[in-house]
């Protein structure tokens, strides 16, 4: 066991965001947390990294646990000049070779002299991943790390994550809302909506009524919706040309 939540509840102001969360992360497993907007996914993450204190319940960590954290969409102000190399060594204390190997584990060994501002979305996510790998973490937390990436970029990123686990032997907990994308890479899924609705193997969760109640549509009907909308805008265009 690396980290364990025992009956954890969290209030933000007056609002109860998470109630009675029981979950534990074993070493080297990949756990995906799914949930709609406002379901408390990011709050749970902030509690795991220690940014928020639980209002009740206990958070247990393995002594000396090292956590690597990849935040959700990081906005860097363009007024702040920052090379990838300097960003990697902030707060510092890592040797050049450590930084170089973290960058190559994340699949971007050539970026070290570039300005952060000039990176593409996918490159920046990998730099953030590399930064989280620096301290050789036992547990890697990824908060919607593929937000803003296209399908190909997302698939490549998840392949990189699987690679990272194979090489560095760390556990990975990630937030996502795309079960069909992470299915193959994840060992266990937790559906969150203020509390844990259901959990288990990805195939089990996908078949469960709780999952369908939360997300309504599975990927097939999403595709159907997309086709339908495409069709409608087409007919509208035709109508305009009639006039």
């Amino acid at each position: 066991m690396l980290i364990e939540c025992d009956n954890l509840s969290i209030y933000l102001g007056q609002r109860k965001v998470l109630s009675n969360i029981n979950l534990s992360v074993e070493s080297q497993e990949i756990l995906t947390i799914l949930g709609p907007n406002g379901s408390g996914k990011t709050t749970l993450f902030k509690t795991l990294i220690g940014a928020l204190q639980p209002s009740s319940g206990v958070l247990k960590k393995k002594p000396g646990l090292k956590i690597g954290y990849v935040p959700q969409r990081l906005h860097i102000d363009e007024t702040l000049p920052m090379t990838v190399k300097r960003f990697m060594n902030l707060p510092g204390g890592h040797s050049q070779s450590t930084v170089a190997s973290a960058l190559s584990h994340a699949g971007v060994p050539e970026l070290d002299k570039q300005q952060i501002m000039g990176l593409s979305g996918g490159q920046f996510q990998r730099v953030l991943l590399a930064r989280a790998l620096l301290g050789a973490p036992d547990l890697l937390l990824l908060d919607e790390a593929t937000q803003g990436l296209d399908h190909r970029g997302t698939a490549e990123f998840y392949r990189q994550i699987a690679n990272v686990r194979a090489h560095l032997k760390c556990a990975i907990v990630m937030i996502s809302h795309e079960l069909h994308v992470v299915m193959r890479q994840t060992d266990r899924v937790i559906c969150l909506n203020g509390h844990i609705c259901c959990q288990g193997k990805p195939e089990t969760v996908r078949g469960s009524p709780e999952y369908h109640a939360l997300f309504g549509l599975d990927s097939e009907s999403e595709a159907a919706l997309y086709l339908h909308q495409g069709h409608r805008s087409h007919t509208q265009a035709e109508r305009v040309s009639d006039v």
Binding site: I49, I67, Y69, P71, T79, P81
Partner: protein, 262 residues
Amino acid sequence: MFDDFLVRAMLAGIGVALAAAPLGCFVIWRRMAYFGDATAHSAVLGIALSLTLSAPLFLGVLVVCLLMAIMVSSLTGRGFAMDTLLGVASHSSLAIGLVAVSFLSGVRIDLMAYLFGDILAVGPKDLMLIWGGALIVLGLIAWRWPGLLLSTLNSDLALSCGFKPKQEQLILTISLAIVVAVAIKVVGVLLIAAMLIVPAATARTFSSTPEMMAVIAACLGTFCSVSGLQISYLMDTPTGPTIVCVGAFLFILTNLVFRIRR
């Protein structure tokens, strides 16, 4: 050497520039320009207060600036946006300060000296105060540099590395109040924000890392102070505004040259 008022003025200008420039970088990165302005404006109230209580000017300004900065940071997010609060606080504290100063009928006050600075009147004691304050600010920023920088980048990232972004914010707030308190004599209430922002904004063009930007800003600030002082002596212009003019000229020049070379 310290007997010469021009030497004293130069040293005072350098002291303020050295402290203001690195702090100014944070003001720019965190988009706190208006915050700096509001803190500086509240100094007029501090001046009125210390004249009323016949307390040292430095102390009165420091206390009022700190109160102002802490009040604005703690009220933000409670139903008001930061810039609304600053707009209210900045101009009302300036107005209240000016009204309060007018009640002090016993003493004759040269208000212009406080609004635009009077660097040529810097005495040996002021000089000690300026350099003392500047060294404290530089020390604070150097000591907390990694935490300050990481909190500026992203507060969650800072928290996950064991830093406390709120604490780092407080350190910047205190530094800002100290810089305002020591810079009043040199550039005055209305132009302190320029000493913070103009050199740092100019340095941005040449910098590839945050450290580089802070060092270049400090050099530019020093250059502006020294050359501004000489120009104002030769041309008989007000010193504080002349220093800021040199800074503004450099900013425009470097940006034009960079645009053309690209």
